[in-house]
């Protein structure tokens, strides 16, 4: 089991001023696993994502990807190693077309530069048609209709489609680790179920990808994750299967106060 772990953190911590937002957190995830990350608001879930994607630098601790420490590496290098993410608040470029947004996920695989942009149009046309076919097949996994909307600005799409585009953009990177930050935020329960099925589908299509998913909705976490880690005040308070974690007294206290009923 230990050999197959793709990514792990060692006592990962960050302090903002006097506040320990993430406090000595140890996480690990194996190839092909879906890890659910839960915890009340402000418990440090998104901060962990920001740490391991290089947006913040940890105060102490370290994190490893495929055996290599990525501590202190700039965000673009971490991305190039194979860690992709989506954001809690969508960070799509709303003015750009669906296709452009997905294309940026393929950015670092493109051996293509300014001079080529101006002088090598045939090469570009060839690359574009390949990239477009890939983008279409990615979008098609989610929703065939998205393929027909590929030329439209993302800003004109409904929320659920934007989420899908965001996940497609991350998948276009062909990552080995995918971090999903509250993918179902702002969706109706039906849309949510649909999206979760989509995510499962994505995982099946690209065998071996590991997913860490932050979610508030427990039905989502229950249905999708192999293992769950619960955080509170930046510390890991429980780890195990969904049932184990949801039965944990400390977790129930964190979510519901001292005398909570069953989740």
């Amino acid at each position: 089991m230990d050999n197959s772990r793709v990514f792990w953190t060692e006592d990962l911590s960050i302090a903002f001023g006097g506040l320990l937002a993430v406090d000595r957190v140890n996480l690990d995830i194996s190839r092909g696993e879906i890890l659910g990350l839960i915890g009340p608001n402000g418990s440090g879930k998104t901060t962990i994502f920001n740490l391991v994607t290089g947006i913040y630098t940890p105060s102490t601790g370290d994190f490893f990807f495929e055996g290599e420490s990525l501590l202190g590496k700039p965000a673009y290098q971490i991305a190039r190693k194979g860690i992709a993410r989506t954001f809690q608040i969508s960070r799509l470029c709303l003015d750009l077309s669906v296709l452009d947004n997905v294309f940026i996920g393929m950015h670092y695989r493109q051996k293509y530069w300014l001079v080529d942009a101006v002088f090598r149009r045939r090469l570009l046309a060839r690359e574009v048609s390949q990239a477009r076919d890939r983008a279409f097949s990615l979008l098609g996994v989610f929703n065939e209709e998205l393929v027909d909307l590929a030329g439209k600005p993302v800003g004109t799409l409904p929320q659920i489609d934007r989420r899908r585009v965001e996940i497609c953009r991350a998948m276009a990177m062909e990552p080995k680790l995918l971090l999903l930050d509250e993918p179902s935020a702002g969706m109706t329960p039906e849309e949510m179920t649909e999206l979760m099925q989509d995510i499962k589908k994505v995982q099946e299509e690209s065998e071996g990808i590991s997913i860490i998913i932050v979610e508030h909705d427990m039905t989502v976490i229950r249905s999708i994750s192999d293992r769950v880690v619960a955080l509170n005040y930046g510390r890991k308070i429980a780890e195990g299967t969904f049932e184990e974690v949801s039965d944990n007294a400390e977790v129930r206290e964190a979510y519901l106060g001292k005398r909570g009923h069953r989740l």
């Binding site: 296709l99 048609s129 477009r132």
Partner: protein, 409 residues
């Protein structure tokens, strides 16, 4: 609808298309050639009427767009021929020819500024300073070492690109308003330095910079074609068209490539760009320098066009004009910059007929345009990559006619 489309694809479509181009051309020339303000008022009214008409009938506008997309090659050839014929029609007024050349230089510079401001979101209010760097570099090289103009032109561009390095730190460390402030400071530093340094001629500037001449042919000679005599400015005009074509095609190709996608993402969301493996800093420096190269190229051209440059030519107000051209014309849109530079350079000249009220009306026009078209006259358009990779698009378009119809490139 299908029937109409078939007609538009045939020779009738081409005739209509060339007709549209010709109408715009005639209106443009009439604006220059008919003296007095009545023509301006009349065309302004016509424009307003046209805008309202097209708002009422969006289908008509869309059909004209389709027409241009269907016959893109012919549309381009038509436009190029019409542009090349401009000196023939306004041979009698070299003043307007000169104004058009100046508009072309602003267009060149603004294409560079558009890469920075429009495509990548880097505010540069020191464009006139980089224009000055190009102009002075060309002037000094030509005066001091007698370098010919065809070398000083690219040399001016390269110099402006190199001078960009002075602003690299703020470009990487600051954004938005703060970068604007830093570049304004740089702009003033450059003009003050030019005013005070001996070797740049101080406030007198550089005089007697040799005008363009290639292989012994001086650009200062009138072209006598027998049936018509073109003023000397025609030489400069054709060179300007060449420069604009090169810079314009390069800009458009950058926009419609992966690089364009990368820059747009950096402009919209740097953090997102980073998390997808984009080396944001590298791209910012490259584009900032390249944009300034274009601006410097325009400056060097200016030097050899007028033969006399001094600090006031490169004051802050020029920077503001350039930024206005990009914002009003349309950010990250080459066609927008073309429209913007024609409008903002030629309109004030035309408004001379109302003399004292010139800038009052000019300001009013700008305000009205920004109210009604806050995103510019020709706003940013989502790239249509389906267009670039032709064959599959056509197949798709046939199966689902509701797909994208606007042409991108």
């Amino acid at each position: 609808m299908d029937d109409q489309q078939r007609t538009l694809a045939g020779p009738w479509g081409i005739i209509i298309l060339l007709g549209v181009e010709l109408i715009i051309y005639v209106l443009f020339l009439a604006l220059l050639l008919v003296p007095g303000g009545e023509i301006l008022a009349a065309e302004a009214l016509l424009l307003v009427a046209a805008v309202f008409y097209f708002r009422r009938n969006p289908a008509l506008g869309a059909r004209i767009q389709q027409l241009f997309a269907a016959h893109a090659r012919i549309a381009w050839i038509g436009a190029v021929v019409l542009v090349l014929l401009i000196p023939f029609f306004i041979a009698s007024s070299p003043y307007w020819l000169f104004t058009i050349i100046i508009a072309g230089l602003f267009l060149t510079a603004c294409l560079g500024l558009n890469l920075q401001l429009g495509s990548s979101g880097m505010v540069n209010l020191a464009s006139a300073a980089f224009y000055a760097v190009g102009a002075y570099a060309a002037g000094l090289l030509a005066l001091g070492w007698g370098w010919p103009a065809w070398i000083t032109l690219p040399a001016g561009a390269v110099m402006a690109g190199l001078f960009s390095a002075l602003l690299f730190v703020p470009v990487l460390k600051t954004k938005g308003h703060y970068l604007a402030l830093v570049t304004i400071a740089f702009q003033f530093m450059v003009t003050i330095l030019l005013d005070n340094m001996e070797w740049t001629g101080g406030p007198q500037g550089l005089k007697n910079i040799p005008l363009f001449s290639v292989a012994g042919y001086s650009f200062n000679t009138a072209i006598n074609l027998g049936f018509i005599k073109l003023p000397a400015y025609a030489n400069f005009f054709y060179l300007m068209v060449l420069v604009v074509a090169v810079v314009g095609v390069a800009s458009q190709r950058i926009y419609s490539s992966w690089v364009g996608v990368t820059l747009s993402t950096i402009r919209d969301d740097e953090i997102a760009a980073q998390t997808f493996g984009v080396q944001v800093n590298r791209w910012k420096l490259v584009i900032f320098s390249l944009g300034n190269c274009f601006i410097g190229l325009a400056g060097a051209f200016y030097s050899h066009l007028v033969g006399f440059i001094s600090p006031p030519n490169f004051a802050f107000d020029k920077s503001l004009v350039m930024v206005s051209i990009v914002i009003l014309g349309g950010m990250d849109n080459v066609f927008g910059v073309i429209v913007g530079s024609l409008l903002l350079i030629i309109l004030p000249e035309k408004l001379r007929v109302v003399q004292d009220y010139r800038f009052l009306i000019y300001g009013l026009v700008l305000i009205i345009m920004l109210i009604f078209r806050p995103r510019g006259l020709v706003p940013f358009k989502a790239r249509d990559f389906l267009d670039l990779a032709g064959p599959v698009r056509r197949k798709r378009a046939a199966s689902a006619s509701s797909t994208v119809s606007e042409g991108g490139a």
